[in-house]
Amino acid sequence: MTAPSPEVEILRARAAGLRKLAGRLQASPVVDLHRRAGTDVWLGPTAFECHDELITLGRRITDAADDLVWSARSLEQQAAVLAAMTVVPG
């Protein structure tokens, strides 16, 4: 069995980094922050505006995390293909 090539190692490391960042974002307090700004806390145009924006921010962070996971998966697939090409049957 041969060791993976440096390119494969790099791709896998990048994928791991992206997954870690995605996990961090998914766990961010921003995702649920709008729950702290509901109608039990305040009422009025500013309150509704803030609540709305916090929902949007939470959604943007979640979407960004999803994009990172997708990118990580893509890198992992590239690494797998590269690894298969460099293995000599034997």
């Binding site: 960042l21 305040w42 009025g44 145009p45 609540h51 990118s71």
Partner: protein
């Protein structure tokens, strides 16, 4: 002006949470190019979060004395309703620093909940000012556009009983100001109040119409209409977006409750001046021909719901619209007119109208209504839902009133369209005996009715001349289609008749002007005069068209009818002889047209009736 209410301790907690979230995002780092977009999102989110921190700080640490001033909302003003519960719970209230009043989904739902609850709070709705009503209507229309908010509003107000409390209060308010306007039409404040209340009813209707009763169950109307006072229901109904049938059904049910005094008490508008519930309903229904018809149909078993409820103009508008041939078939109209006429005949002079409603000139109104339908009153009575003998009775009942009789004959042109569609002579030049008999039957019935009721004034005279010429016009178009326009009858009057015919009619006193007495003495029969008038007019037209020889009229015997003779029979015999004298000088179509006109005014049966 918008206000912001808040719980200081919870806002402080929010401020900390915002800061913590921003700090947490700050720890997210990556230099991978595939994470560039995500990091851009992180940065922009941090910026947005950080922008809210000073806003909250401003609330928590008031910077100026003015800002620090606590505002007390008016607990009787419905415009404060969103924050009143918070104020009671010890929240701080201040002017909202936001410069953009956003109407997002959450805002609309909260507003709907607050207003729904507020409307049930008598301390808020006891005396709504004009400004409050205007605000309320605006808010409700906005709520109606957001389905979740509309649902929240309906759920908060609750069942039909709760709705009726809210709506009847507004209805009574309108009734009061309507009465003020009746005594002083220039009262600007009362007028404005009425407009504001109507607008509020419209907005409440919009919220109700946004509900499931129309979208999912189109066959029903909101139950609240059965709970509120009929006057209130009549105010609300037009705004519920119901189709013609359901609108009419709801109107019918409201009318029944109104006239029967549901719950054994008079409706709220019973002693009030101005419009009653039926007036409002009829005026609304009359904007839609099919809805008007539907109500008349639903009221066929109880015509008094139509004829003894609203004021005369509203009743007349409803019936005219609901029997208009522009939107309804002859058959449809024939299902609703006879019951109305029957009730009117049976209750003629029968007491005072219910609560001031009902027709004031019943005969005249029905003369106007029936004028276009003389065929359905006479020879085509089977097309309508008359009982045996009823159609003729209706005709005679109408003309017992002199003005109504005048109205009936003065609107003769309205029956012309039906008669002009009658083809006396078909494409092959053959006479249609059915068509001729129908017209003959109509004229015979009219003549008998007018004779029996002794209606023989100048207007009736002119009417018979017009009637004769109308039939001649139909015959001319059949004998010479090129003379008519697109199948319509040739429009004839004494003034445009061929000169030879005009002068002969004048000489005989048959032109509807002076000399009528001489004609009566000469021919002694309306039928005979009418038949002769039509034949002379037709002959004149056919001579002008070159279909008869120039001396054709000379062959007609117009001498006096002998005293011992039956005038209709004598004149008819002379016309038959005249027609036969033309046999060698005219084609079959022309002769058939003359025959059709002869028989349209007198046939064997009608002559027998008169001799």
């Amino acid at each position: 002006m918008a206000y912001l209410g808040y719980d200081s301790s919870l806002v402080l907690a929010l401020r900390h949470a915002l800061q913590d979230a921003s700090d947490d995002l700050a720890l997210a780092r990556s230099s991978d190019q595939s994470a560039a977009d995500a990091m851009q999102v992180v940065r922009s989110c941090r910026t947005a979060l950080d922008a809210w921190v000073p806003v909250l700080d401003q609330l928590l640490c008031c910077r100026t004395l003015e800002d620090a001033t606590s505002i007390r909302l008016d607990t009787a003003d419905i415009r404060s309703v969103l924050l009143l519960a918070g104020q009671r719970a010890g929240w701080l209230i201040r002017r909202d620093p936001s410069t953009t009043a956003t109407a997002n989904r959450l805002a609309m739902i909260e507003q709907a909940r607050a207003i729904g609850g507020g409307l049930l709070d008598e301390s808020l709705t006891d005396e709504l000012t004009g400004a409050e009503l205007t605000w309320l209507a605006d808010q409700l229309r906005a709520i109606a556009r957001v389905p979740e908010a509309a649902a929240m509003f309906r759920a908060t107000v609750g069942g039909a009983k709760a709705w009726s409390r809210v709506l009847d209060q507004l209805g009574l308010d309108r009734l009061t100001h309507q009465s003020v306007l009746v005594s002083d039409a220039d009262d600007r404040a009362a007028h404005d109040r009425l407009v504001q209340l109507d607008d509020t009813f419209g907005a409440i209707g919009a919220v109700l119409a946004a509900g499931s009763h129309t979208a999912k169950r189109p066959a029903v109307y909101p139950a609240v209409l059965r709970e509120v006072d009929p006057y209130t229901a009549a105010l609300l109904l037009p705004h519920l977006g119901l189709d013609a049938h359901n609108g009419a059904q709801a109107s019918h049910d409201i009318l029944v409750r109104w006239i029967d005094w549901a719950d054994d008490r008079p409706p709220a508008d019973f002693d009030a001046a101005g419009d009653d519930a039926p007036d409002l309903l009829f005026r609304w229904l009359a904007t839609d021909g099919f809805a008007s018809f539907e109500l008349l149909r639903l009221c066929a078993d109880r015509p008094e719901l139509v004829l003894r409820t609203a004021q005369a103009p509203a009743v007349e508008a409803l019936i005219i619209r609901g029997t208009s041939p522009e939107t309804l078939s002859v058959g449809q109209i024939g299902t609703v007119v006879p019951p109305l006429v029957r009730w009117a005949v049976e209750n003629d002079g029968g007491g005072e109208p219910h609560n001031g409603g009902g027709l004031t000139h019943t005969h005249a109104f029905f003369a106007t209504l029936l004028a276009p339908w003389l065929l359905q009153l006479t020879s085509r009575s089977e097309e309508w839902a008359w009982r045996p003998g009823e159609a003729d009775g209706a005709l005679r009942w109408v003309i017992t009133d002199g003005k109504a009789a005048d109205l009936l004959v003065s609107r003769m042109e309205e029956v012309q369209e039906q008669i002009s569609q009658t083809r006396f002579v078909d494409a092959e030049g053959e006479v249609s005996s059915q068509a001729v008999d129908e017209v003959a039957g109509m004229f015979a019935a009219l003549q008998l009715a007018f004779r029996d009721e002794e209606r023989s004034d100048a207007l009736a005279k002119a009417f018979w001349v017009d009637a004769a010429l109308m039939v001649v016009g139909v015959a001319v178009s059949a004998a010479a289609p090129e003379a008519a326009i697109a199948g319509a009858a040739v429009d004839l009057s004494i003034g445009v008749l061929a000169p030879a015919a005009r002068s002969l009619l004048a000489e005989l006193g048959l032109d509807g002007s002076k000399g009528a007495a001489a004609a009566d003495a000469r021919f002694r029969s309306r039928t005979a005069e009418l038949q002769l008038t039509a034949i002379i007019a037709l002959t004149g037209e056919l001579i002008e068209m070159g279909r008869l020889p120039d001396d054709a009229l000379d062959r007609l015997d117009v001498s006096d009818v002998p005293d011992a003779a039956c005038a209709p029979q004598t004149v008819d015999d002379r016309i038959t002889a005249f027609r036969e004298s033309l046999a060698g000088d005219a084609d079959a179509t022309t002769l058939n047209a003359i025959y059709a006109v002869q028989r349209a005014f007198a046939n064997e049966m009608s002559i027998q009736q008169q001799c």
